[in-house]
Symmetry: C2
Subunit: 350 residues, 2 copies
DNA sequence: GATTTTAACGAAAACGTTTTCGATTTGTGA
DNA sequence: TCACAAATCGAAAACGTTTTCGTTAAAATC
């Protein structure tokens, strides 16, 4: 019933614990014979090293912590999948925690992970996080930390992101290229950097193309559980406020799909009357009608990349090498589908 | 830089490590003065007990393992959320692994978790799992194990499930009650118990109501990444094969939404021509048009309940009490929406 | 004042592993 | 034969806690 220990193996074979340990780890100063002996007995007894003891000795747990604002979200679920898969490859386990977009919780969870002495931490910030002492604390303790997606520029650690501003610019530029003159934007909440950057990308594309920026064309939504409904509501409001809008760039697909639904119901033709571009390439976007043009946000790859970077830093940390924070920007692509009309401007289609 | 230890505190205060340890844990044989002294210094030094050492001493890690077939799935994501939230409340951390519906991976992961010496394991089976030695091994080692949702009846451990058969029966019975005479079923894959049970519930409702069971009305789909497409395809086939079907019970919402989409495109009126009931109550079901009648499958509650049961068993195991496996069946409810027509049979509506 | 009780503390073992360093044995070359 | 190197092993310390049990001093009891 009790787990097998090195001591038990040693006693059975009449050798020392030391030799057993070395044999199992293929130390050069153990003869082939004893190695074989030890390994065989270990196998038949189904010996498993006591991780607790190993951790204590080696001062590492082969475990990392992951704090994520929401789990039930296709993008983050994909990130989790990417992290877990990559971690497993490298022999690391992942402890997962959900901050629920709350700074207080996030802080507590950082504390939990530090107490647990994980080898490193991956985090995507809660919307509520405007202070970062808890993260600086992690860094000061010399614990590897990598942020992804929802980051704080001010925190001095590695980050894996997409260029939200550029992607939004691309999306808006595409709307302009296909002939849209009056382009609205459904933006995300005011706080997280992502929705700010997407908004800025939208704005810059307008001005770069000589189009006026009109604040009344920008609608805000929380992008929480009610995203779909928010999309519908904003679409409704937009139709009431303006009759000349011919394109919308929307912060996230679910909102876009809500808007699309409202337009469909009201008989507004997409893309003939209004062209729509979403963000994130949720699988439903390729499936609804009309299919949604959107920016592909590589969740799985982001998770994978974030872990890879963290892994490097963990290794460096073990060797007492200092780590130079690195910012990795993943490519996004515009996925053109039915919700945007074809360009009428042939010159642009050379 | 190096973490503070009990020893350091002891030396600073000129007392023994023992007393420091006891003071921090409020042992009665330490004076109030020393307790205050110790606690204060511990706080200012930001002392955190070394989990590795604590684990080694106490033989528990306050950590559980979770193996799940897919993370990127609204139901499972909800389950994860429920588990993580409840675990955190009780001071437990969750290590998450994804089996990818593969028996081989699942086996390896069980092994990993056993090596890690987690205090207990939560698992939802991979579709590919038809052998259960790896799970029996866990049980034999006396490690608490709770299965949820995708379970194996044959394994002697606690389980948290819904009554798939009953829920399917309810769904089908509802279709019958509102007047459907020719009811089709889009079922899931042949293996997992869930889709078998849902199929059986469908069948039993038919025969209990004197309706013939017609195998040609049963369509199979894998319910994987292509669910939506499968729904469309099956809908198409159904329209080709039969012109008299007036109701469909569908294994899962995403497939149902695919079917709905196809029917919409082909001008088939839902619910006038065909009534549809889905399964799981995905949030999109309340949002598409027409909204989908479905069985609500309580993912968050399932996660929460599964952890609670595991927690009980972990506590029992610590006290060397034997654990009697318990099967907890969560209630499901039929959520009536637009995709099913109102009953014309007033007698049934008393 | 002698004895017992209580309060407060500490020594030491234990958890199971890893690793350093020294000891022993065997083999090698002169 | 001697010196030295190589091969093989083990003793012991260390990781940082927890907990048992004993010790001491002070307080209480008679």
């Amino acid at each position: 019933m009790k787990p097998i220990t090195l001591k038990q193996i040693a006693e059975q074979l009449n050798i020392s614990v030391t030799t057993v340990s070395k044999a199992l780890k293929d130390y050069p100063d153990v003869s082939k014979k004893t190695k074989a002996m030890v390994k065989e007995l270990a196998k038949t007894l189904n010996y498993r090293p006591n991780t607790f003891a190993v951790n204590l000795r080696t001062k590492e747990s082969k475990t990392i912590g992951l704090i994520i604002p929401v789990i039930v979200h296709h993008f983050f679920a994909n990130v989790i999948k990417g992290i877990v898969a990559q971690a497993e490859k490298k022999g690391y386990l992942v402890i997962i925690l959900q901050s629920n977009e709350s700074y207080e919780l996030e802080k507590k969870q950082i504390d939990l992970l530090m107490s647990q002495r994980v080898d490193g931490i991956l985090i995507s910030l809660a919307n509520g996080s405007a202070r970062f002492d808890h993260l600086n604390e992690v860094i000061n303790q010399g614990k590897p930390l990598v942020m992804f997606d929802k980051i704080a520029k001010i925190v001095n650690c590695s980050k894996v992101i997409i260029d939200d501003r550029k992607a939004a610019y691309t999306a808006t530029q595409y709307l302009i290229d296909i002939g849209c003159k009056r382009i609205a934007h459904f933006r995300g909440p005011l706080l997280p950097q992502n929705s700010i950057d997407r908004f800025l990308g939208y704005k810059k594309a307008l001005t770069d193309n000589g189009l006026p920026y009109d604040p009344s064309l920008v609608y805000i939504c929380e992008c929480g559980d009610m995203s779909f409904e928010e999309g519908k509501m904003n679409a409704k409001k937009l139709l009431e406020d303006h009759d000349d809008v011919d394109g919308i760039f929307i912060n996230t697909d679910l909102v876009a799909i809500g808007a699309l639904n409202e337009f469909n119901n009201q008989g507004i033709k997409i893309p003939e009357d209004i062209s729509i571009v979403g963000f994130s390439n949720w699988f439903m976007s390729s499936v609804i009608s009309p299919t949604l043009t959107t920016i592909d946000q590589p969740g799985y790859l982001m998770g994978k990349t974030a872990f890879k970077q963290l892994f490097k830093e963990i290794k460096a940390h073990k060797k007492n090498k200092s780590i130079i924070p690195k910012i990795i920007t993943l490519e996004t692509v515009l996925v053109k589908r039915e919700s945007t009309k074809k360009s009428t401007n042939t010159i642009l289609e050379i």
